[in-house]
Amino acid sequence: MKRTRLVFSGSGGQGVITAGIILAEAAVIYENMNATQTQTYGAAARGGATKTDVIISDSKIYFPEVVQPNILVCLTQDSYNNFASIIRPGGILLTDLRFVKTIKKIDAKQIELPMYENVIKQINKKVVFNICMLGALIGITRLLKPSSIIKVLKKRISKDFIDINKKALDMGIKMGREFKK
């Protein structure tokens, strides 16, 4: 049984929940897996802490919440401070260099990438920051095929924005893969 438990956390407007939905949808529709996605539910569309739990598995998923994630993404200092300790030993903690200063020593692979900085430099649209993060995640873990993510993006996003999303995804994947080396 293969099961990956992920938590994406950040602040409202960064797109962490959207990223969770896109990842889970890609797993279900294009990779024939099961997935659940839940989220903190409240008025956090613009600011305020947000968090989404995603479970991707080849078997049935019952309890949909993630207690100990294999993969934790923190895109703000607050979310890092709050959630860094819940990571499963040996898991992967992905943070953004601009927003998070890692302080704690935890039993996980800590990966700090300049995702936001590169998005601003190369695309100059912070709206695709979350897609760059998804790319980095896939680059590091090879959890899903990039083409599955692109298929979901094409379904959900108007075609005027597909190019910058693809570019952000590719950029993330490259950063993630390079880090592995």
């Binding site: 529709i29 996605q37 839940t38 989220q39 539910y41 019952y62």
Partner: protein, 382 residues
């Protein structure tokens, strides 16, 4: 094939089930956590040429679907606890006047406006006894999106079969969570459509004269037959009556048509139930935690099973008695102060081995919560 697989939240699974069943009229007033049902139908129904109305409040929404149902439509409204309270008077009217309709209650924390964005299962008894007077009601629930879809179709089928309001008791967790849904092909799930009278124009039609099998053929209001509909006790013409015989027979009729059909209405699932020493009875999102926990413990050689109820009213007392007859202890896992617990105790008579495993703080009960309680019951400590 791919287009049949969806990744949706529970509210959308409910909408897709309703559309599959043939819903063609929705009136509602948005309320968290049910809002997405109204939101999606506000697009889908006009697209297929049908009516979606956002009403001024929940009372008007309930009244609107009753009127629309009488004209021959398959109708639905969706709300949460506070709105469900407001609908109770008209819900009773629909019971009395025997009008098919489906009411979705995506439960959130109560009483009153309570805990709008968090989960609860506190409206179970309200679904049964929220409206006054002796009546019977059908209330269904589900713990995953495939079942939400199918249960919603069943709700429409039961509403038409028994000419009664049917309540769908979902909850915030299940309806905001996203997971896989495979849309069944056309005809995979049978659909019950309106049972209409064959009587032609100018032929006397008795709207409330049951046939020998107890069913009442309907005539679309405003079409060829004129008849009366009232919340008062009424005769076969639909006109008010306080004749004791008519009153008693009608009260028997609206109760018996549902209670006598409990075998057709009852839906449930068994998980690891065979030879289980400890049985968890659960429903809705809390059943997911119960099954998760039972699966884990079963893999470790313990004998723990789950009886997952998918129909709560009429309550399947005989089923619970049969399934739990050999259990050392029964735990009712729910997110309220023991509303189904009381029914289970009633079913089992001897209640000293029936326990409540609940959580009422707005968070989903976890497998760990249930495991801790079970260990205490087993005398093993937490």
């Amino acid at each position: 094939m791919t287009s049949k697989i969806k990744f949706v939240h529970g509210n959308e699974a409910c909408v897709r089930g309703a559309l599959y069943a043939g819903v063609n009229f929705f009136a509602g007033y948005p309320i968290t956590p049910s809002t997405e049902i109204a939101e999606i139908l506000s697009q889908k129904l006009p697209e297929q040429g049908d009516k979606f109305i956002q009403m001024e409040d929940e009372i008007a929404s309930m009244c609107a679907i009753i009127g629309a149902s009488l004209t021959g439509h398959k109708v639905m409204t969706a709300t949460s606890g506070p709105g469900f309270s407001l609908k109770q008077e008209a819900l009773g009217y629909a019971c009395m006047a025997e009008i098919p309709c489906v009411i979705v209650n995506v439960q959130r924390g109560g009483p009153s406006t309570g805990n709008p964005t968090h989960v609860s299962q506190g409206d179970v008894n309200q679904a049964r006894w929220g409206t006054h007077g002796d009546h019977s009601i059908i209330a269904l629930t589900a713990s995953n999106h495939q079942d939400i879809f199918e249960t919603t179709v069943n709700a429409f089928n039961f509403a038409e079969t028994y000419r009664t309001p049917v309540i769908l008791l979902f909850d915030e967790t299940i309806c905001h969570m996203r997971e896989k849904l495979i849309i069944p092909r056309k005809n995979d799930i049978p659909i019950v459509n309106r049972f209409r009278t064959s009587l032609k124009k100018h032929v006397d039609y008795h709207p409330y004269l049951p046939r020998e099998d107890g069913r009442l053929p309907m005539s679309d209001f405003g079409d060829v037959h004129r008849y009366n509909v009232t919340g008062l006790f009424h005769d076969m013409w639909g006109f008010p009556s306080n004749n004791p015989k008519i009153v008693q027979e009608l009260l028997h009729h609206i109760n018996d048509k549902i209670e006598n059909s409990i075998h057709e209405i009852t839906k449930y699932k068994e998980h690891y139930l065979e030879n289980a020493e400890y049985i968890l009875i659960s429903y809705g999102s809390s059943a997911r935690s119960a099954i998760h926990m039972a699966k884990n413990r079963t893999q470790r050689g313990e004998k723990i099973g789950v009886l997952e109820l998918q129909s709560l009213w009429p309550f399947p007392h005989a089923l619970v008695r049969e399934k739990c007859s050999k259990a050392k202890a029964v735990l009712v896992v729910e997110m309220n102060m023991g509303q189904i617990l009381n029914q289970v105790k009633l079913a089992l008579g001897d209640s000293k081995n029936v326990f409540l495993a609940n959580r009422i703080d707005g968070n989903l009960i976890t497998p760990t919560n249930i495991k801790a309680l079970l260990r205490v019951i087993q005398g093993r400590g937490v």
